[in-house]
């Protein structure tokens, strides 16, 4: 994999990090989520795209 061009992949990583950060901000500001908060923190930090999607669609009780 030595010919991987990180310039191409960096925006993808940046977007994933942005998504996780927005999720964490939302998690910090909301009081009620489905399930324990620490689980969502783990999912947002380590769950990549699917973890973030799961948080935004299933994690939050409707505002």
């Amino acid at each position: 994999m030595d010919k991987v061009n990180w310039g191409l992949i960096a925006p993808l990583l940046a977007l994933q990090i942005l998504l996780a950060v927005v999720g964490l901000i939302s998690l910090a500001r909301t009081e009620q989520v489905r399930g324990p908060k620490w689980m969502w923190v783990l999912l947002l930090v380590f769950g990549n795209l699917l973890g973030s999607i799961a948080y935004f669609t299933l994690g939050r009780k409707e505002l």
Partner: protein, 255 residues
């Protein structure tokens, strides 16, 4: 008209507060740029997974730019539709369960304007997400695979937007009737059912809105466009808005 505008503004504010206006477009951009990237590095990815039989890679051919673009749009037909439906499912149901609906209904606003404002807000989120996602996908495709016919990309995206809007409108209709998750389930079931019917009997169901994704892909391959699915999709969307308005009216408090 100014009432409708106020309601729409309220919905957009809600979309910002619930982070919907951020996370849905970001997910769409990620999905869009992932497709050309994964396709471009497919040979490396397969080689790194090590259990590929020798000589297998010789037959691998990089798909053309138009094909990759069609695959990227296809992502919006699966994960994208799921995200949009899950993001829309509570727009009417959530207000019913939280009591906001009663508050809103006590004011002199018509059910139609409530539904139209919600529909327009969800449409706005969809368009922003799709435009940014397609732009990302097209940029990476052009960088990695080669040129695209921009007119075809725009037409294909428009057709896909119409199909996604059908799913969103169905969700809104069911959301006026059922609780959020059930509404999402029914809308997805109907969309999947239409897609299945179209894939089993393509010639007889060529007029269904479910023909739109296929037509979108064929536009990229310089295929033809027929008006049938577009008309039926428009009718379906209008019917969903009308139906949702009737359901909202039925829940209206007596004066």
């Amino acid at each position: 008209m100014s009432k409708l505008w106020t309601l729409y503004y309220r919905e957009m504010l809600e979309a910002v507060r619930s982070y919907k206006l951020i996370w849905i477009p970001v997910v769409f951009i990620i999905l869009g740029i992932m497709q050309p990237l994964v396709t471009f590095y497919m040979a490396d990815i397969l080689a790194a997974s090590s259990n590929v039989p020798a000589g297998f890679m010789d037959s691998y051919e990089m798909p053309g730019a138009a094909a990759v673009m069609a695959q990227a749009l296809g992502q919006y037909g699966t994960i994208g539709i799921l995200i949009l439906v899950l993001g829309t499912m509570n727009s009417l149901a959530g207000e019913r369960s939280s009591g906001t609906a009663e508050l809103l209904m006590a004011r002199p606003v018509s059910p139609v304007s409530i539904v139209v404002a919600k529909w327009a807000a969800n449409f706005t989120v969809l368009i922003i997400a799709l435009v940014l996602g397609v732009a990302g996908a097209a940029y990476y495709t052009v960088q990695l695979m080669g040129g695209l016919a921009w007119g075809a990309v725009a037409a294909a995206s428009g057709l896909y937007a119409l199909w996604l809007l059908c799913a969103v409108s169905l969700t809104l209709l069911f959301s006026a009737w059922l609780r959020g998750p059930a509404a999402a389930g029914f809308a997805l079931l109907l969309a999947a059912g239409m897609s299945l019917a179209h894939s089993l009997l393509p010639s007889r169901t060529a007029w269904l809105p479910a023909a739109l994704p296929g037509m979108s892909a064929s536009v990229l391959a310089e295929g033809r466009v027929t008006g049938g699915p577009m008309i039926s999709a428009a009718l379906l969307i209008v019917a969903c808005i009308a139906g949702a308005s009737l359901l909202v009216r039925r829940n209206k408090l007596p004066n």
